[in-house]
């Protein structure tokens, strides 16, 4: 994120907003370990479910960046994770990740103007009503990121269904046989020693 104009008001804060599609999630516990920023995630996302089992709504990640007011380039490293995708005949599933939006929030005692339309749906009401929000212009690098993840193939299901159960049952029978044979041997060895 390139910040060309640091605002004159000393107590303005720098933020980054990420809109995350349901295929992608952020781990708030992992983010809490990052010293460069503090994070707020809404709604809280399940850390384990595949995408097919979660709500199909975007989540919003807002970072409060603790950046020194020096160099114009601010690097904010945000770990994100992809969920297991819905199985599909195409082997891969593309995910389009909207570019992050950087903005300043400057406390305003008077009625601040409404936030930029790109941010309005996502900002908490108390922030929008008490701060003047100014968007940091996007640079050429701030484009939509494209991630491609592999997904399971539904056509595999019949073979996987039968194959898994067959092999497990076969091994069950094999081990029952091996166990009973071993037990009989141990028992007869023990009887021979006693006799």
């Amino acid at each position: 994120m390139r910040v060309d104009d640091w605002p004159p008001v000393a107590h303005c804060s720098l933020h980054v907003l990420h809109v995350l599609p349901p295929d992608v999630y952020a781990d708030p516990y992992e983010l809490a370990l990052r010293p460069a920023y503090s994070a707020r995630l809404h709604p809280a996302s399940d850390l384990e479910l595949p995408v097919a089992a979660v709500d199909h709504a975007d989540s919003v990640l807002i970072l409060d960046v603790h950046a020194p007011r020096t160099a114009p380039d601010v690097l904010v490293d945000v770990p994100l994770h992809a969920r297991y995708g819905i199985p599909a005949p195409a082997s891969y599933h593309p995910i389009a990740l909207p570019p992050p939006l950087g903005f300043w929030a400057c406390p305003s005692s008077a009625h601040p103007p409404p936030p930029p339309p790109q941010l309005q749906p996502y900002l908490p009401l108390e922030t929008a009503s008490s701060h003047a929000i100014s968007l940091i212009p996007s640079s050429a690098a701030d484009e939509r990121a494209h991630i491609v993840i592999p997904v399971g193939t539904p056509d595999h299901l019949p073979l996987v269904d039968i194959g898994t159960v067959s092999v497990m049952l076969l091994m069950f029978v094999y081990l029952v046989y091996a166990s009973v044979s071993t037990a009989q041997r141990l028992h007869s060895d023990h009887r021979a020693k006693k006799d």
Partner: protein
């Protein structure tokens, strides 16, 4: 009289004392923990296990109650404790979070040092079991099986007994080194996995059982089962030994399992488990019950792991729009997808092998080993930490295995090779993003077949 095999073995035993092995193991673990701190600070891919962060966060929540983070049991308010289950994916006993509270106020790596200490204590316990019980028992078995002892041997002076003890101790040291210096063991504990605590409890249970201290064994079994459910299977192996009575047949064996001493053992073990559970419930309420136990009844692990069930679960994962409804499926599909199809073979084998092999004290370690291997192999989820559950018995079992070096290398090769085969494919999925789900599933099947074959071979080599 020391057994003939030990006499021949002493030529090959290294001149290494147990205290030295313990010291080396301790230094190794401390070095790795220090390295882990450096590595995690300088690398995106962390050395420390994700689970360690989960435990640490849970400990933080216990120590820092707020209005949104309070123990939810009847006594929760009185204790003033926070709720470890505020931490998503924390599915362990609250005792673990309590044990790790020094991570908050002492040092973030305290837990890793604790797990390393448990590793070392386990090694010490193994050594005692080998020197005091298992190796002398094995020598006695060989002595009685071989031709009668000569009068010259019977009248050997006391310094021979001392020499015998030294041979036993050196052999025990070598065997315990197999565990303490095993890369899988020290890597897992220094990465912050808590298995070392449970394994100490399990081994203590078996030690007390071998010493016939049945009350202590029962309490430790209850504690182990509270910590993680699977150790309950060892109760079956112990029940056949607790009871009084003689007789060789199955009828006498089953009678021993329901005699007063066996019933007392079962009751004491169950009471310990219930008492711990009740105390945790009184303080932390339903979240404890759900996360520690009930969750595991219905868990669906769709992400890739060694168990072949992962791909089936992923392809059939119930969604909000299409929940899993067995009743609406054709009979064949219902049988294939039923949870009982995986549960029944696992339980029949885990409990059945306990009944089959838990008939004599000499075979208790073998029984527990076999029970654990089948439990892990037939489980619907399997990660590397699970291998420790049965590897802990190997140093105690080796003295009773009769196999050539070639056989041993072959079995080790198959066991490790099936894992390497799976891991090489998993790497492509995790780090290269390649679609290898089907190949990974096939390799999971190979892992199951390979492990079952190795187990069957070990069974055939046991006590020959």
């Amino acid at each position: 009289m020391v057994s003939k095999s030990l006499v021949s073995l002493q030529r090959h035993l290294p001149q290494l004392s147990f205290s030295r092995v313990l010291a080396i193991s301790a230094v190794l673990r401390v070095a790795l923990i220090l390295y882990s701190e450096w590595h995690d600070a300088h690398s995106t891919v962390k050395y420390t296990d994700v689970d360690y962060r989960v435990f640490s966060d849970a400990a933080h929540f216990v120590l820092n109650p707020t209005s949104a983070n309070r123990a939810q049991g009847y006594l929760g308010l009185w204790t003033g404790s926070g709720d470890p289950y505020t931490r998503a994916t924390y599915r362990y006993t609250p005792l673990l979070a309590l044990l790790l509270t020094p991570n908050e106020w002492l040092h973030p790596s305290f837990g890793k040092y604790l797990f390393a200490v448990c590793d070392l204590l386990t090694g010490m316990l193994m050594y005692r079991m080998l020197v005091d019980i298992i190796l002398p028992l094995g020598a006695k078995c060989e002595g009685s099986a071989s031709s009668s002892v000569s009068s010259a041997d019977q009248e050997k002076p006391t310094d021979t007994t001392t020499a015998d003890t030294r041979v036993l101790e050196r052999y025990a040291t070598l065997l315990v080194s197999v565990h303490l210096l095993n890369p899988l063991v020290f890597t897992i504990s220094t990465r912050g996995s808590s298995e070392a605590i449970l394994l100490l409890f399990v081994l203590s249970t078996i030690y007390c059982a071998l010493k016939r201290r049945w009350n202590a064994a029962a309490v430790l079994l209850g504690l182990s089962t509270h910590w993680k459910i699977y150790p309950f299977i060892y109760g079956v192996a112990c029940l056949g030994l607790v009871g009084n009575g003689v007789g060789r047949g199955w009828k006498e064996y089953l009678q021993r399992m329901v005699d007063p001493r066996a019933l007392k053992f079962g009751a004491l073990s169950a009471a310990t488990f219930a008492a711990l559970g009740a105390l945790m419930y009184l303080i932390w309420g339903y979240p404890f019950l759900y996360e520690s136990y009930l969750y595991h009844l219905h868990r669906l692990d769709h992400r890739h792991n060694f168990s072949p069930y992962f791909y089936l679960i992923y392809l059939t994962y119930p969604t909000q729009s299409s929940p899993l409804e067995l009743d609406s499926m054709p009979l064949g599909q219902r049988l294939l997808r039923s949870p009982l199809t995986s549960f029944v073979p696992q339980m029949v084998l885990s409990l059945g092998t306990g009944l089959l092999f838990g008939r004599r004290r000499d075979d208790l370690v073998f029984a527990c080993f076999v029970q654990t291997v089948v439990f892990v192999v037939f489980n619907k989820v399997c990660t590397s930490q699970y291998f420790l559950w049965y590897m802990i018995f190997l140093p105690l079992l080796i003295p009773r295995l009769r196999m050539s070096t070639r056989q041993a290398l072959l079995y080790l090769g198959v066991w490790a090779g099936t894992q390497a085969l799976w891991l090489s494919e998993a790497y492509k999925l995790e780090f290269l993003g390649q679609n290898v789900f089907f190949g990974l599933w096939v390799r999971s099947l190979i892992y199951v077949v390979g492990n079952c074959w190795v187990l069957a071979q070990i069974m055939s080599c046991y006590a020959r």
